[in-house]
Amino acid sequence: MQPSPERQREMLRQMQTIRRFEERASDDYHGGAIYGVVHCYIGEEAVAVGVCSTLNRDDQIISTHRGHGHCIAKGADLNRMMAELYGRETGYCKGKGGSMHIADFGIGMLGANGIVAGGIAIVTGAGLAAQLDGKGRVAVSFFGDGASNAGPFHESLNIAAAWKLPVIFVCENNLYAAQTSAAETHAQEDIAARAHGYGIPGVIVDGNDVLAVHGAAAKAVARARAGEGPTLIECKTYRWRRHTERVNQPDFRPEHEIEVWLKKDPIARLVAHLKSQQGQLTDAEWQEMDRQVLRGIEEAVGFAKSSPFPKPEAALEDVFAS
């Protein structure tokens, strides 16, 4: 079922929020106000938003090193996100995590994770909890094409399949793992084919088409809620920026490949779709939406900047829960 026009506009707003948030985050990273590393999700917004648009607040997701999009799509607070990037006390992790470790357990966002494939088992455990609770909650694992070659992916898929856990495994196949192309590391282009070995559905979807992603996710979520077990969804997509903002690592991706994918902009696509359908989005509305989004980002930056840094001694807190 297609989401309602309102819902679609909301999805558009979220996608644009992710993009604007990261444009700002990378600017401020290069400007020196954000530290460490920033991995941008720009170009892949349709995956996070398409999937999360099928979830309830108490459904859970887990993310990767490239986590801003998943946070925003799951409803995280931009102020606390930006404050975390700025290393402030008001950040989601009190300044302890930074870009790679934003989490909000209150909205079922179990965290970005700096270890490739590191979150897959964790969210599978959340899926087990959901099954034990028996309230129809589901858990979603986001991960990359690179992660699909790591052991924990396999172990988790197998357990989820064997125990019919309500988990949706969403592979964001952006064709590269850092500098290494998936063509070099996968004998088989389609990661979805791996589902076969576990007797679960493996679905391929255009990851730049938010409505297609939504559709595939909705089906998988329904299956999971019905107790029928996990689904592997492979979203074919592409990142626009380099692997990280951190260093000028070489980018071996061919110019023409990048160009082709830039033309598949998931946001422009949804805008065009809404515009093409009488009255669902006008140019003016779209401009206004973008202005609002930018205002939200501006506010978040303001919140971050006006928040204090944690006291150095706060480093000693939170080692253990008491």
Partner: protein
């Protein structure tokens, strides 16, 4: 009080805590039958051989309101799960700013003496102690084990319970009624005044036997069992060393960067304790080798009561 074995002590602790709290459940590659019988296969799960996934799943389940117990079985099987231990379980509470709790019990048997060769005869607790964010117990008696396991299950942090394979069959008195022992409290297993032995697990029993023999020679030995490795009860250890002026650390693990090195450093870096030292601090550990299979070689590797007694004599009455 009743007499039960070390192995029974764990099972009792698990069963009692599972009765007490429906959020406690158990996962391991082979499900323990007595627990399956009482609690059923949903709460006592037999899993695929995928310790990495189990270790991680416990984190996700804990972050969602459960209190999982993951039995890695022999400690050697947890190395496939090391990333989940080091990078997730130990750090996740901290790096997310303390926003969620992860009450998990990981359990593993440790130690040699079983003729199982290098891979299956390991005592690598110090590898985990080096990490910040995990608590750890290593009890030496059924009483300590049961009481500490129950505390560990109730603790809101990931705790690793190391249990000494060599002690599984040993017996000890344990109360009928519910009791717990606090994490982080050492136990003085024997009082003495000439030398302190801080001993771990099996070495506690060997040290007590050595102490008995040495008493006949007029050497009075104090034997301290830390019981908990993290947090370590450094106050009790230092107080004892200040009293006796001498320290031997006995542990079947290899010495290099081991728990024995830590205990040694904790004693010698405290100015007040250092000032009381009457001689060098000795580690009596397993040899720094993988553990060999053949009995003669294996026994040669480990510190036993004779070697402990000899080391004490040398410290108390140095030859030169």
């Amino acid at each position: 009080m009743r007499e039960i074995t070390y192995a029974q002590a764990s099972l009792e602790a698990f069963a009692e805590e599972m009765r007490r709290d429906p959020k406690v459940f158990h996962m391991s590659t082979d499900a323990p039958q007595p627990l399956v019988k009482e609690f059923g296969p949903t709460r006592v799960r037999a899993t695929p051989i995928a310790e990495s996934a189990l270790t991680g799943m416990a984190i996700g389940a804990a972050g969602s309101g459960y209190r999982p117990i993951v039995d890695w079985r022999m400690v050697t099987f947890c190395f496939v799960a090391m990333d989940q231990i080091v990078n997730q379980a130990a750090k996740i509470h901290y790096m997310f700013g303390g926003q969620a709790k992860f009450p998990i019990l990981y359990r593993a048997s440790v130690g040699g003496g079983t003729r199982l060769a290098a891979q299956h005869s390991q005592s690598p607790y110090s590898m985990f102690m080096n990490l910040a964010g995990l608590k750890m117990i290593l009890p030496s008696t059924p009483y300590d084990l049961k009481g500490l396991l129950k505390s560990a299950i109730r603790d809101d942090n990931p705790v690793i319970a190391f249990e000494a394979t060599r002690l599984f069959g040993t017996k000890g008195m344990v109360p009928e009624e519910d009791y717990t022992l606090p994490l982080g409290k050492a136990d003085i297993k024997r009082e003495g005044k000439d030398i302190t032995i801080v001993a771990l697990a099996w070495a506690v029993h060997e040290s007590l036997a050595a102490a008995e023999a040495l008493a006949a020679e007029g050497i009075s030995v104090e034997v301290i069992d830390p019981r908990t490795l993290v947090p370590m009860d450094v106050a009790t250890i230092r107080a004892s060393v200040r009293k006796t002026g001498r320290l031997l650390v006995a542990d079947e693990a290899g010495p290099t960067c081991g728990a024995a090195a830590e205990i040694s450093a904790l004693a010698t870096e405290d100015p007040a304790t250092f000032a009381c030292l009457r001689g060098p601090v000795k580690r009596l550990c397993g040899l720094q080798v993988p553990i060999p299979y053949s009995p003669g070689m294996e026994d040669f590797v480990f510190p036993d009561r004779q070697k402990i007694a000899a080391a004490v004599r040398e410290l108390v009455r140095p030859k030169s």
